[in-house]
Symmetry: C2
Subunit: 202 residues, 2 copies
């Protein structure tokens, strides 16, 4: 069972990711990003339930209760942030008519967002982000990884990629295509310039 | 006058920063971070007013109006995110009684957040982040800069620091102290290990 502390830290990470994903969804007209917001919203709701339950269980005195109400207020704010992010994501999922400014944002932006599923055949499987040099090879940064029902926020060079991981990544349009092919196992790492994987800083 | 496009991009950056700052404020009990949230909330309200005004002015047909309502919905969601961030920040400014879990988060976290004002005497003045190697020298990343009434979100190595800039930075507790002294002009860059400033990747 997650502790209140773990839940608080996860709420922070999750709220930031949801806000990022929801704006990215609408600015880049990305259904992928919008769908991840919906998934996260469900998760934040269950975290909220958990934090409320644990706060109520932990209150033994008036002083306890005073300190614990702060947690409830944070949970409420987190829920409200999640709802706003969902409102933005819903615009995309409902097939909104994009205003021409969105096209301008997309064209001027050097960044896009992509979600790829790592297939069994992919050379990414069982390798750490550090040894993959993904940023160097593809121009893509992995901002989070979804693994079954859990999330890794801000993965680092020691994070290992597994089969079926869902990588949420940001980078160039060209890079997105390359990452997709890597995740599908359609191209090999050797085709992307670096011949070996020194364990240096990425 | 900022265009609708500029406003949208700034809203995204600002929402992300507010969420980050508000949680950091409460988890690290940082009044600095909380105060920045309040400043940003005022700014997002005026951006919202601007986007609504421009949307109304731009509507010439039913189709225009349909496309423009999306902007109003985004503005509304941004306002709601800002309000939630402000609710969290207010807990800190009102002097909440921190629950022991906050202390645990702080102690286990390798990261803290600090706001420093760059004084005239500081060696940071008129230098780019790239040539300063701040991350290497101090262990601190500058996540945003406030300059008078405007903000630089996610400054990069080409961003020049000016006198009176307010740097919002994340890093270790030790690093925070060093950055403060640098910004105050109490220590020089030479005292921090690197003797010159090669313009390489940081």
């Amino acid at each position: 069972m997650a502790t209140i502390k773990d839940i608080l830290v996860e709420m922070k990470d999750m709220s930031e990711l949801m806000v990022d994903l929801s704006y990215s969804a609408v600015l880049f007209n990305s259904k992928d990003a919008a769908e991840e917001v919906i998934t996260l919203e469900n998760k934040i709701n269950s975290l909220n339930y958990e934090i409320k339950k644990q706060s109520l269980l932990a209150a033994r005195s008036v002083e306890d209760a005073e300190r614990l109400t702060v947690l409830l207020e944070i949970a409420e704010a987190a829920e409200s942030i999640a709802n706003s992010a969902k409102d933005i994501a819903d615009l995309v999922l409902k097939g909104f008519k994009p205003h021409p400014v969105f096209k301008m944002v997309m064209e001027e932006s050097e960044e896009t967002m992509v979600r790829v599923v790592v297939k069994k055949e992919s050379q990414l499987v069982q390798k750490s982000l550090g040894e993959l040099f993904l940023a160097t090879r593809t121009g893509m940064r992995v901002i989070s990884i979804r693994r079954d029902e859990s999330w890794i926020y801000g993965p680092d060079r020691n994070t290992i990629i597994f089969e079926d991981d869902i990588l949420i990544s940001k980078g160039t349009v060209t890079g997105s295509g390359i990452l997709q092919e890597l995740a599908d196992g359609e191209i090999s790492l050797d085709e992307l310039g670096l011949d070996d994987f020194p364990h240096d800083s990425n």
